[in-house]
């Protein structure tokens, strides 16, 4: 079971920048009835661990938890064995289990998985009902691991303990407790890093990993995009932890610093400036002058290639203005990408952003940029006053774009291509090109024959 003390510790993460603003013991908010809309802790834990394609992810709970969530994320893997990330495994407990306990079913399921799929490890996720029933998941996993000789990792992130973010933290705890430090790597180099928090959605990581290879940075393990369980077990031998756009795993990196002395940095790979900055941060942290020099060469080449590829787009986008209405780190990361393409970002939403994100948004947009706190009511007025040409927002804002007869991109829709790294900018540019060119937003809003005066 997950203890209250552990949850309290995770909710009061000292490495979080906003912790200093809170009273002692206050920490992050609990979900409020009727007002919490996002995913639960289980959701967050799944997101953080699911990309391990060589492990089976077994959800110990009733039908909703897995039935509606499997095969919903485009987390790519290069794993050549059976890809378990696009499969769903659940004990799908029934009334009988609720009354008599689900431990036997879980044990039998672990046996079934090992017999038929032989994964490198099994992650067993507890859920609200099995947590409330009091199943001894730790013991069942321990017995399963002993019987089959592979790690069987209990993940105690039942949905009702909190939000998605807390779930990611709990997933980090499970990995730290059960996997990291349980195996030694075949060899090490002075340039070994762990990538933490990139889930390789639409292949984001593959946009920048080739650059790492050219420079000589070696990714020892990943938590968890395109990751392998065998690698994360060796993560304690890395020289540096690199967090990619994920505040939720700060606790994991802080603890790894305390236990194994591994320093950590937090970076992002959206847009040209961020990618260049991220690479410099990593090589500087690793501290080898030759590596730093090589990085500069690679950066210069990549930037030059990108600039050449962007020339036709820059001409197309010259003088264009954009309003951005999205949440979290997208508020500045997409803004940064747009600016790299020569588009002026006149406003961005900070309604759901942390203080860090707000500071970054201000930095990118400059003095005159508008940071919208009530985007739903503000964005229409800002489009009018600035003459913006495109709105990038969630589907609900589509009506604003149609009313204002400007272009629109749904940034919250599941995207199919990556906007990460240098080359991701080209994908973003392509999407923008088609959006600017598309007359649908003006066409669809035309009045019907019976509405014309």
């Amino acid at each position: 079971m997950v203890s209250r003390a552990k949850i309290k510790e995770l909710m009061n993460e000292s490495a979080c920048s906003h912790s200093k603003d809170k009273k002692p013991g206050e920490g992050c908010d609990k979900p409020k009835p009727g007002l919490a809309a996002g995913g639960c802790a289980f959701d967050g834990a799944q997101i953080s661990l699911f990309p391990y394609a060589d492990a089976v992810h077994l959800v110990h709970g009733p039908q909703t938890c897995l039935g509606s969530s499997w095969e919903t994320r485009e987390t790519k893997t290069s794993y050549t064995g059976r890809d378990h990330t696009q499969m769903g495994f659940t004990t799908g407990i029934n009334t009988n289990d609720v009354i008599f306990g689900g431990d036997k079913r879980l044990g039998d399921s672990i046996d079934y998985v090992m017999e038929h799929y032989k994964p490198e490890a099994i992650f067993v996720y507890s859920t609200c009902v099995t947590a409330l029933m009091g199943d001894d998941i730790d013991m069942t996993c321990k017995l399963g691991a002993e019987k089959h000789g592979v790690p069987v990792v209990p993940v105690h992130a039942a949905g009702f303990v909190g939000s998605k973010n807390l779930g990611s933290r709990l997933a980090g705890e499970a990995v730290l407790e059960h996997l990291i430090g349980t195996k030694e790597p075949e060899f090490t180099t002075p340039y070994d890093i762990n990538l933490i928090g990139d889930y390789n959605v639409t292949g984001d990581m593959w946009q920048y990993l080739p650059l790492f290879e050219k420079i000589g940075i070696r990714v020892l393990s990943s938590m968890s995009g395109d990751g392998r369980v065998g690698d994360i077990r060796c993560a304690h031998r890395a020289k540096l932890n690199v967090i990619v756009c994920a505040k939720s795993l700060i606790t994991l990196t802080r603890k790894m610093q305390e236990q194994y002395g591994i320093p950590w940095i937090s970076v992002s790979f959206y847009g040209k400036r961020d990618t260049t900055f991220a690479i410099r941060e990593i090589v500087t942290a690793l501290g080898d002058p030759e590596l730093i020099a090589r990085a500069e060469t690679v950066i210069a080449e990549a930037e030059a290639d990108l600039e050449a590829a962007l020339i036709p787009y820059r001409a197309m986008f010259a003088g264009k203005k954009a309003v951005l209405n999205t949440g979290g780190n997208k508020a500045w990361s997409i803004a940064s990408g747009l600016q790299d393409l020569g588009i002026e970002v006149v406003a961005t939403s900070v309604a759901k952003s942390t203080q860090d994100d707000i500071d970054k948004a201000r930095e990118y947009l400059g003095e005159n940029g508008v940071l919208m706190t009530k985007p739903a009511s503000e964005q229409g007025k800002i489009i009018d006053s600035t003459g913006a040409h495109i709105l990038l927002a969630g589907g609900r804002s589509l009506y604003t774009a149609i009313k204002k007869k400007i272009s629109f991109i749904d940034v919250n829709q599941e995207k199919k291509t990556s906007y990460g790294g240098y080359n991701g900018l080209l994908n973003l540019a392509e999407d923008l090109k088609y959006a600017f060119r598309n007359p649908v937003f003006a066409n669809v809003g035309k009045p019907a024959p019976w509405e014309v005066g």
């Binding site: 609990k30 979900p31 919490a36 809309a37 009733p62 039908q63 909703t64 095969e71 589907g395």
Partner: protein
């Protein structure tokens, strides 16, 4: 592994499940009631998953709220706090929101802790309907049916007289919005004042409007549900809906109950039309007759391809029964019909194997099948089988567009369905 029709599971877990949960069916049913606020009594994740699931299937904003049960309230609260707080918080946040009804549905979590969701209703001023839908029992289809029954039992006012031309039909879960509309139109053509409960045909039919999607967009109104016991006819479509029809009959024994397992294929539609003709003493409209002969023609046109083909069909029981009957009527061989949950209607299916299972079980039959009819999740698995076609039916269909307008019911829908099947078969059967 022995696959036979049984109430008992044949393995301890599900691998690549096709089953979805009862609360999700309840949410969808509530979305067919105008201005209803579906309120899931659950941790926030259950509602979040459900919202994403239907948003992607229908490509529309989905109105759903939840009571955000936490580990603390799970133990200390009997439901009063979280349900009442949720309603209060939502109303404080959205001052202009005027829900016509609160559609409360429970989940495995809140059923395990055993909340008194009936009692809470006494403290709520807005019309309130509750339904117990633990997700460790039944499936999406039964959750939908239980919700319809709950709305009838808790809202509909008992009556002692009926209006001779008033009809209500109860569609099963798997019917898409356009299918409900087509059935409504047919009944209206027979001169009936027609209602559907729930009515997704005017709420999730995918129409463009400047809606906010915070309440159900359209559907049957609460007043219309209250007034349903004055109907002269209640028609249940799908075995899962029988009990709901009986619940309405209890409100007024004068109501005549007609039941149809499905409205697919010549027989299915003929029975339905014949029943309406008998009541109204009139023929259907000429266009309906025309569609019947088009279906006859489509059956003859497609029988060769379909009659020489092997099928694997998966889905909710009521949908399975309809699809399998239509395929059988033109000679298709069904190697396996795999259901999400057990239902008596499964006994009516003519297939080599009929059983309750998942896509891991189904996969064993893919190799020798010409076509699989299943949900979105079969697509990736079928990439490995180049000579097996896929037609997507049932929940979820995440990637295809226009799901809300796919009609397989009545003469017209069955005609298009047969052509779609035959044309998809042609691609795999004649290319090698």
């Amino acid at each position: 592994m022995e696959f036979s029709l049984s109430r008992h599971e044949h393995k301890p877990l599900q691998v690549n499940p096709i089953k979805h949960s009862q609360p999700m069916g309840a949410t969808l049913a509530y979305l067919g009631v105008k201005d209803c606020m579906p309120l899931m009594h659950s941790a926030q994740g259950c509602a979040s998953y459900t919202k994403v699931f239907f948003t992607r299937h229908f490509n529309e904003p989905i109105a759903i709220n939840n009571t955000s049960v936490s580990d603390i309230t799970a133990v200390l609260d009997g439901g009063d706090y979280s349900i009442l707080m949720a309603i209060e918080n939502i109303q404080n946040k959205e001052k202009n929101l005027k829900p016509s009804m609160i559609g409360l549905h429970t989940t495995g979590l809140t059923e395990t802790k055993g909340d008194d969701v009936r009692g809470v209703g006494m403290h709520i001023e807005i019309p309130y309907v509750f339904v117990n839908t633990p997700d460790y029992e039944g499936g999406m289809e039964s959750g939908w049916a239980l919700t319809v029954t709950a709305m009838i039992e808790q809202l509909t006012v008992a009556a002692t007289e009926v209006k001779t031309n008033k009809l209500v039909f109860l569609p099963h879960l798997s019917m898409q919005p356009i299918e409900v509309e087509k059935i409504k139109c047919l009944c209206e053509d027979f001169g009936f004042e027609t209602y559907a409960l729930p009515d997704l045909s005017t709420s999730l039919d995918g129409y463009w409007e400047a809606g906010q999607g915070k309440l159900a967009n359209g559907g049957i109104t609460v007043d219309q549900i209250r007034d349903l016991a004055t109907s002269s006819i209640v028609i249940s479509i799908g075995a899962s809906m029988k009990k709901s029809a009986l619940a309405l009959q209890k409100k007024n024994p004068l109501i005549e109950h007609l039941h149809f397992d499905h409205l697919m294929g010549l027989d299915g539609c003929d029975n339905f039309v014949a029943a309406l003709m008998e009541i109204r003493h009139t023929d259907p409209k000429p266009l309906m007759k025309r569609w019947r002969s088009r279906l006859q023609d489509a059956m003859l046109d497609s029988h060769f391809l379909i009659g020489s083909s092997h099928f694997v069909v998966t889905g909710e029981p009521d949908m399975l029964a309809g699809i399998c009957a239509l395929l059988r009527s033109v000679g298709g061989t069904i190697d396996a019909a795999i259901s999400t949950t057990f239902s008596d209607v499964l006994h009516t299916i003519e297939a080599e194997k009929v059983f309750v299972g998942d896509l891991e079980d189904a996969r064993g039959f893919f190799e020798h099948a010409d076509m699989v009819i299943s949900n979105f999740h079969a697509e990736r698995i079928l990439h490995m089988y180049h000579n097996t076609a896929l037609v997507i039916r049932g929940f979820p269909n995440y990637e295809e567009l226009g799901n809300q307008l796919k009609s397989d019911q009545l003469y017209e829908g069955s005609t298009y369905f047969l052509f779609e099947i035959a044309n998809s078969l042609r691609k795999v059967k004649h290319e090698h």
